[in-house]
Assembly symmetry: C2
Homo-oligomer: 198 residues x 2
């Protein structure tokens, strides 16, 4: 096996772990399964990480920092706020449909973090990041459509995150596309009413 420095192995193992978690769930993401996915030997795992817990913790933080802006739609001049928001939510939905396993993995990692007091902050950080991304999208949307949020944008963003989460979880269960689109429309509606025309 070609020699790889420990830092690169850490990255490779985290990538492999994310694939395993997405494909088979966190419970199946054993050290051996991760190592097999990465094409390494078991010893390399504990050379790169002190423990499986350390890997999972780092997986969560990595995955948070990678989280991209998926909600921002193309902005078209003259669009109303409602149109922008709904388009953004639908874009998120397409992202979800394209890679449901990824969102499912995120959900599982959150639940896992929620289960122990010392990991709870990881879950909180994950959602803080979601909220941050949502707030940015809402800023852009308000700017573009010339409105002003009645509450602080973080508060509105927090509502958007909740709606997005609900859309995700329910769709993962019933895979009802039309229902998900109805949720997007209703959410856009609610959010629109949290803004005043300037």
């Amino acid at each position: 096996m070609t020699r790889i420095p420990a830092t690169e192995r850490r990255a490779a193992l985290i990538d492999a772990a994310l694939r395993v978690v997405s494909r088979n769930g966190l419970a199946q993401a054993t050290t051996r399964a991760i190592v097999a996915e990465a094409g390494m030997s078991l010893a390399s795992f504990h050379y790169a990480f002190a423990s499986r817990d350390e890997l999972v913790d780092e997986l969560i933080t990595t995955v948070i920092s990678r989280e991209q802006q998926a909600v921002l739609p193309d902005l078209i001049p003259g669009q109303t706020l409602h149109e922008i928001l709904e388009a953004g939510l639908l874009r998120y939905f397409e992202h979800l449909r394209a890679d449901p396993e990824h969102e499912q993995a995120m959900l599982e990692l959150t639940q896992y973090a929620l289960r122990s007091p010392e990991r709870h902050p990881l879950a909180a950080a994950q959602y803080a990041r979601y909220t941050e991304l949502a707030a940015h999208a809402l800023d852009v949307a308000a700017e573009h459509s010339g409105v002003r949020w009645r509450s602080p944008v973080d508060r509105v963003a927090r509502v958007l995150v909740a709606f997005t989460d609900g859309l995700t979880l329910t769709w993962l269960v019933d895979r009802d596309d039309d229902a998900a689109r109805a949720v997007a429309a209703a959410a856009a509606d609610a959010l629109t009413r949290m803004a005043d025309t300037r």
Copy 2:
């Protein structure tokens, strides 16, 4: 140990399992942990259930059938639809605050069911039940406030379930009561706009 018929043991084990899952998570709900919680010996477990999987499957179906109407608020004459819906959502939120571990357990069971094709229907049934309960609450609310849902009530209910789920998940993470109430208000707003005054 006093003798208990197998059917009662099944019920006792399921209750114990739900407590263990709520307290420590599904991953910690081993046969030994469940049996200890129920105060039985390990042999009793496999006398009552063929396997742990069978127990978990039955736990899910049991828990679905027990699911109560938590969203229906007290109806006060003259209340607007928006007021009824927001009060209902806030009542659900109080229910969540009173026993967060229970909702967390539900979420974990859903995720678990989502992970294998043969169990997916269990998750679907769980959400079908949620939707059913929500639809009933929406029927009552519309009746009481003299409005008519523009879409079939099941569709509106599906949206309500998504909003409730989002409220739950995000609150479980950040425990921000005010944010959750804002979500409830926004959700009530969106739902209200899905009805026409008759």
